[in-house]
Symmetry: C2
Subunit: 260 residues, 2 copies
């Protein structure tokens, strides 16, 4: 299968233009699964709760409509991040397939001022069985909690789709550790550009990447709008044996991890 990480430069609040720009980038390559950044349609750097309430959409709102059309027309899957209007407002990602909405994830670990604008995710770390393998999602700062990727791997995820808006430098290298320790693939789709709003000046680092279960960086983008595409065999992530004696997941020793 072919995975694409789509590194866009969203303009804050310009939902229609951002979705169009992403679709144009996606049309430029043929993939089975496209991963877009966190909050790719709205931009990230909200200044007020009014803004996020105005820009949030239900999981089957206008952004969904545009992406679902693409997925149907191209018989492919897309993961994208958006501000989800539900009982509360979540920093969410959707997994869309040719038939429509397949799965929803709500960011579990909110970062910094996101605490002002979003409710913490309440769906855990679900995993979805797709024709090419099992896929789970986490969003941006979820990376720093090893429990996120670990939970996904223990639930059978072979690929972690990871919409992001990274401003700090650590995540791209840390995702190598996440893939090694879980023997999974990961596709981190970050954004580029700068948002200086309400006294908070954020620059995004790019470096979207696709990493293999052996910790190989199969593709890492620079800091500019681009699409990275890699062909992978997700079945590789099923084999947790790293030698004849060691199976990475079944060798876990829960009884040794007590903290009480």
């Amino acid at each position: 299968m072919r995975i694409a990480v789509v590194q866009t430069s969203p303009q804050f609040g310009q939902v229609e233009a951002n979705v169009t720009a992403a679709l144009i980038a996606m049309e430029s390559v043929r993939a089975d699964l496209y991963v877009l950044p966190e909050l790719f349609n709205t931009g990230y750097n909200f200044a007020t709760t009014d803004e996020v309430e105005k820009l949030a959409e239900p999981s089957e709102g206008p952004t969904y409509d545009a992406i679902a059309k693409f997925a149907q027309r191209n018989s492919c899957y897309v993961v994208y991040g958006f501000a989800e209007k539900a009982d509360r407002i979540y920093n969410s990602s959707s997994l869309i397939g040719p038939q429509g909405l397949v799965g929803l994830f709500r960011k579990v670990h909110l970062f910094y001022r996101e605490h002002l604008f979003f409710a913490p995710g309440n769906l855990g770390f679900p995993v979805f069985d797709l024709p090419f393998g099992k896929v789970g999602m986490m969003i941006c700062f979820d990376w720093i909690y090893p429990e996120s990727a670990r939970t996904l791997a223990l639930r059978g995820a072979q690929l972690i789709a990871h919409p992001s808006n990274l401003v700090l430098p650590h995540c791209p290298d840390a995702m190598v550790t996440r893939c090694l320790e879980n023997r999974v693939f990961a596709a981190t789709a970050n954004r580029v550009g700068r948002e200086n709003r309400g006294g908070v000046d954020l620059s995004y680092i790019g470096k979207s990447e696709i990493v293999s279960p052996r910790g190989e960086i199969l593709k890492r983008l620079e800091n500019e709008e681009a699409v990275g595409i890699v062909e992978v065999h997700l079945a590789q992530a099923l084999n947790k044996h790293i030698n004849e004696f060691n199976n990475l997941l079944s060798d876990r020793r829960e009884e040794a991890y007590t903290t009480g």
Copy 2:
């Protein structure tokens, strides 16, 4: 306080010479805590169970005597790895202080052929309260399980002393992730040299290192016998706030990590 990682080149089975070489290296610098490699006194690449039974020592055996004398004379602490003869044989590390044995750790996650020679550790991940801060231990391959460093951090460890015999390239960079995700210091003491025994040819990568809670590599050695020394303030590892909204440990969301 000053931490030293002591990167030696043990000769297989030459316990007295290996201990002497380590002590000479340790005498060359003044530190509050010295960390030596895994199995620093015996060498690593056992070919038979007879060999390991012959070279294993109780936790207060001859190697202990020599190290304890150094710790007493220099009012310092030392962590070193050795084959421990107890009810079974463990791949262990001891923490020695001016008054003698402070703590013992038994490698929880055995790697590869170690399964033939050692019993898995049965002491969990204990943490010890020293004058300069709380210190826990893990040994080599324990690094690949995020649960190891996480358990130590949740138990209050400010510094992870990490005796190692690394043959694969991933650990030094992964320890940056371990420190970032837990906001702890880590001192990985690896060995150098090559052991080609019983048809198993192992070359050790060196790269002993000391990493800060912010993921800074304060010191990383090359692949030769050397001592790396760094002055640190372990109190930095007490602060788990990474900004005004986020506390790395208390923001964990156990209820989201269910896999059932």
